[in-house]
């Protein structure tokens, strides 16, 4: 077995009674773009801060190329980082900011000038050397911060929600830049975000954090098509959940009884507390079909609302037992013309396309 480039092994972090990180282990390959995705307080930022050396783990180890990082202080780890807040040194110009890590490393003047120029070119801010950070926009400041974090060629770049202070349009623009920079430099990136869209757009793999643990690690499509837990299913993509009764389960497939009495078989079953009688069934809005007559496996619903969302239409429905389910239909779908608010309709789906969580 080859040794992983970066290995996080059994990291645990407690503050008195509070456990911020329970048990986090993962391996990152060289050049990989790995995102820690999760809500605030899920332990993703704490894990990143432990990597940066700002905090020591209560337990566990971090290995870079097989060497433990924990005894190395932050300033000797040679890791790059872009922060959530603007952290450019306000008393220095853009050029001096980017040169700062090189000055500390006592790199020669001529080489500094050349590398600063190259780094600013990488983030498309050539010619901004003499500007003071206060006179730049938030997006530009974060790009300078990126240049400053990359100028000393760190093996690993950490990014802690670097775009959360920017507006949506600018965020997408810089996401694109980050992707390009990742491809151009081949640097290994660990990226923290709570924005699933951002995670899906940028990452090679995503580690979904929940309550101090990683629920699942995988590529975006893997997490979407085959979520391991209820939390992952709810966090990645849009989702509906309804309660169902487990009739029987074997070999990871379950036979379920839905609230309306319909029985479906062959539903992928994900382990939870064994022996439970009820399960939560994941129905993706775009995997549901709507029709005015009963066809196939499904549920009887009442149309609650129809919302036009541009390239698709969201129909919100209510089941007989009062659970709300949203259905996403492509614009111009034939079902739309025949239904209106208050109508009775039939929702059907393939049991294979759903997931049950015990």
């Amino acid at each position: 077995m080859t040794q992983p480039f970066l290995s996080i092994r059994g990291i645990r972090k407690t503050y008195g009674q509070v456990t911020a990180v329970k048990n986090v282990s993962l391996d990152v390959a060289q050049g990989e773009f790995m995102t820690f995705l999760g809500p605030s307080g899920s332990g993703k930022s704490t894990t990143l801060y432990i990597l940066a050396g700002f905090q020591d783990p209560t337990d566990g180890d971090i290995l870079l190329n097989g060497q433990s990082l924990l005894s190395t202080p932050s300033h000797k780890r040679n890791i790059g980082m872009v922060f959530q807040r603007y952290t450019l040194f306000p008393h220095l110009t853009v050029g001096e900011n980017v040169a700062f890590p090189l000055r500390i490393r006592r790199v020669g003047q001529a080489e500094i000038a050349e590398r600063v120029k190259k780094a600013l070119k990488l983030v498309r801010l050539e010619g901004f050397e003499d500007r003071k950070p206060a006179l730049m926009s938030g997006g530009q400041q974060q790009r300078v911060a990126l240049a400053r974090a990359l100028v000393y060629n760190p093996p690993v770049l950490l990014m802690d929600e670097p775009l959360s202070a920017l507006d949506k349009k600018l965020r997408e623009e810089i996401q694109f830049e980050i992707r390009r920079i990742h491809q151009e430099t081949g640097v290994t990136i660990l990226y923290v975000t709570h924005d699933q869209e951002e995670a899906l757009r940028l990452s090679d793999r995503i580690a979904v954090f929940s309550q101090g643990e990683i629920d699942q690690i995988g590529t975006g499509p893997e997490l979407y098509a085959n979520p391991a837990t209820h939390f992952v299913a709810g966090f990645i993509g849009d989702s509906n959940f309804i309660n169902a009764e487990i009739l029987s389960s074997a070999d990871g497939k379950a036979k379920l009884s839905l609230p309306g009495g319909t029985v479906i078989d062959g539903v992928p079953m994900h382990a939870g507390k064994a022996g439970g009688k009820s399960a939560s069934l994941l129905l993706r809005p775009e995997r549901l079909s709507l029709s005015s007559t009963q066809v196939g496996n499904g549920l009887a619903v009442t149309i609650n609302d129809i919302t036009f969302l541009g390239n698709n239409i969201e129909v919100s429905t209510l089941t007989g037992s009062g659970e709300s389910l949203s259905v996403r239909l492509p614009f111009g779908h034939e079902a739309i013309s025949s239904i209106s608010r208050g109508d009775q309709a039939w929702l059907s789906f393939e049991p294979k396309s759903t997931h049950a969580f015990a």
């Binding site: 000797k76 040194f89 700062f100 500390i104 003071k132």
Partner: protein, 285 residues
């Protein structure tokens, strides 16, 4: 349209007149009790005993008086440096402490400022005298054999004044240090800067405006300080304010007193102008 314009104009001028009216009492006070007396002093310094600049010539030409100037600037400079050096860590601590604790420490500092100046200065006399607590402690710890001369000289003046001036360094610094995002120091650390480099290359430059304004305040206040030098200093090491008092009270030489006071005022104003020029806090950094 015309009507509304007139009304607007009228209101504005009323407001302007009204606000001007409220500052009149203060302006009159300053004019009568500061500007006019200073001008009169200036007059006396060039008119007494005979018209001319002979008072200034004597003041700046004689070694006795130059010594007083030297004493004044040495003590003010020392007090400023020591107050900044020992005040900075306190301000830093207060800036990063949990609010609950920093408020308590601040209360202690402010309370010390509110305590009567004479009482505090006499307390230092007691502490620093040959048989005082400080000397006794140093002897019992075996650091010295004979008591040190800590009062009636410039050492005593410097110690006493540093203590009195400390809050004027600490208070403006806290605000500046609090405004520095700790993430900036983390970023510096990841860039490779060790603790010392984080301090000298990031924290210190960023807090320089606060240090400068605190230092200037202390320096200027120290230049003209009277009570502490008079009580803790010896008769042989006079400072400028004592010299002015001596000219006016003992020698009744208003000409020389006025000249000394105006030299002090001039130095202060020059320093203030330097601060405005180079360390304007409102300037975009």
């Amino acid at each position: 349209m015309v009507l509304s314009a007139t009304t607007d104009g009228g209101q504005r001028s009323i407001r302007r007149n009204g606000s001007f009216g409220y500052v009149v009492p203060a302006l009159l006070l300053i004019a009568f009790f500061f500007i006019i007396p200073v001008l009169m002093l200036l007059m006396r310094s060039v008119l007494e005993p005979t018209p001319g600049l002979q008072n200034y010539q004597e003041l700046l030409g004689s070694t006795t008086y130059l010594r007083v100037f030297l004493n004044t600037f040495t003590v003010a400079g020392l007090v400023t440096v020591v107050a900044v050096v020992i005040g900075f860590p306190v301000a830093w601590l207060l800036a990063i402490m949990p609010d609950k604790w920093s408020r308590l420490v601040m209360a202690i500092i402010v309370l010390s400022m509110w305590t009567n100046l004479l009482a505090r200065t006499y307390a230092w006399m007691v502490l620093l005298q040959r048989t005082g607590v400080v000397n006794k402690m140093l002897i019992s710890l075996g650091i010295i054999d004979k008591p040190l001369a800590l009062v009636n000289n410039l050492v005593g003046v410097t110690i006493g004044m540093t203590y009195i001036m400390l809050p004027f360094v600490i208070l403006p610094l806290i605000g500046i240090l609090k405004s520095i995002d700790p993430a900036i120091l983390r970023a510096a650390a990841l860039c490779g800067a060790n603790k010392r480099q984080c301090f000298t290359r990031v924290l210190l430059p960023l807090s320089l405006p606060g240090i400068a304004s605190g230092a200037l305040m202390v320096f200027v206040m120290s230049l003209g300080y009277y009570v502490t030098p008079a009580l803790l200093g010896g008769t042989s090491n006079m400072m400028l304010a004592e010299l002015v008092a001596q000219f006016v009270q003992s020698l009744v030489n208003w000409g020389m007193g006025g000249a000394a006071a105006l030299v002090l005022l001039l130095v202060t104003m020059v320093l203030y102008a330097i601060q405005l020029k180079f360390l304007n806090p409102n300037r975009v950094r």
